[in-house]
């Protein structure tokens, strides 16, 4: 199978329910969550998009509906073209979507990472566990309401936690996150600095 020259037209014709997304590079479509497996298997089996290069998710914000969007990047190794698909998850509180591990076994760890970071469950996934954070960690760190510094939780190992009296604590941000002014020639000025310079380790945070 070779990737068709004008895949956008083919998709529009075969799946009228798909909506074109604004895109700066490759063709991109929004698909209903219920159709995502059908569309992706059509792309893989008859349009030559045989490689899943990325699978990730977007949190659109706590008060937005639909809140979670899963994004698929597929590549055709014969046509050398990319295509992006996005699908909104069904539920905002308990988001879920169909797993594509049946099409690409490589999606396994991508989906586990999305589950770990966003809490989106993939129906039909063979092994829906966390992959980066430890088993039993109570949060999903890439959700918008989760602070970068973290939230106090026990260490993954209770014995070590008791022995050392250490917990998972929010990291001291000291006015961070720290950003560099890229393109700055003067290295002293280009040093990473906290966004909020009104307080730091020496000066108390104004209340």
């Amino acid at each position: 199978m070779t990737a068709s020259v004008d895949v956008a037209a083919v998709i529009k014709q075969s799946f009228p329910q798909l909506v074109e997304r604004p895109s700066g590079d490759h063709p991109a479509f929004s698909a209903p969550a219920s159709d995502i497996l059908t569309v992706l298997s059509f792309l893989r089996n008859s349009q030559g998009y045989d490689l899943l290069t990325d699978l990730t998710a977007i949190d659109n914000g706590e008060d937005t509906t639909p809140r979670f969007t899963v994004v698929y990047h597929v590549f055709s190794t014969t046509g050398h073209t990319y295509l992006r698909l996005a699908a909104d998850c069904r539920d905002d509180r308990k988001p879920s979507i169909a797993s594509v591990t049946s099409l690409w076994p490589g999606a396994d760890w991508h989906e586990r990472e999305v589950f770990d970071m966003f809490g989106i469950t993939f129906d039909g996934h063979p092994d829906m566990r966390r992959i980066l954070m430890w088993e039993g960690y109570p949060y999903h760190p890439l959700r918008k309401e989760f602070p970068l510094a973290g939230i106090e939780t026990p260490l993954p190992d209770i014995e070590v936690s008791e022995e050392t009296g250490t917990k998972v604590l929010p990291a001291p941000m000291a006015g961070g996150p720290f950003v560099t002014s890229s393109g700055e020639i003067n290295m002293a000025k280009a040093e990473p600095r906290a966004k909020d310079e009104s307080w730091n380790e020496k000066k108390e945070k104004p209340l």
């Binding site: 980066l132 949060y139 990291a171």
Partner: protein
């Protein structure tokens, strides 16, 4: 300086097979010159740790070339890299398995303070779970800096009251 004494080294005929010294001095001399490191290479700093062990910087000059990947055979844990909260308990367990006396070097910004990772996933300094003897600044520290830390650790070891501790143990 002109001297008639040509005996610069230990001579059994003169000393009569006896060397007089303090127990602390002997024990510390042995310990400090045969530090067997436990490489806890967790991130980029481990590359510099390897460089320190390799021929150019040659940590063997200080008697610490025997990198042991078994904690039971090691004296000094060199924490080289970013310690995540997921890894932290394992690090502590490895430390617990090392036989006393044992020492810890926190190599680099990450191991010393969490470094640039001010985030939910990173332990903000390995001294929260193990006692650290020497901190090395840098991201990553150059091998010379790690050698300097080793020399500092050796200096520290030589001041220890080892004999007393052995007797009371």
């Amino acid at each position: 300086m002109v001297s008639t004494n040509t005996e610069f080294a230990y001579n059994t005929k003169i000393e009569g097979d006896v060397v007089v010294t303090r127990a602390d001095a002997v024990i510390n001399w042995i310990r400090s010159n045969s530090v067997w490191p436990m490489p806890m290479g967790l991130a980029c700093c481990a590359i510099e740790l390897m460089a320190t062990a390799a021929s150019r910087f040659d940590i063997a000059r200080f008697g610490a070339e025997v990198f042991r990947f078994s904690p039971r055979q090691a004296d000094c844990m060199i924490v080289a890299g970013t310690v995540t909260y997921k890894m932290a308990p394992h690090l502590r367990r490895i430390y617990d398995q090392m036989a006393a006396p044992k020492w810890v070097i926190a190599m680099g910004a990450c191991a010393s303070s969490g470094g640039m990772y001010r985030s939910y996933a990173t332990l903000q300094g390995v001294d929260r779970i193990v006692p650290v003897d020497v901190y090395v600044s840098g991201c990553p520290p150059r091998p010379e800096a790690l050698l300097d830390a080793l020399i500092k650790l050796q200096t520290k070891m030589r001041d220890e009251r080892s004999a007393k501790r052995l007797m009371s143990a």
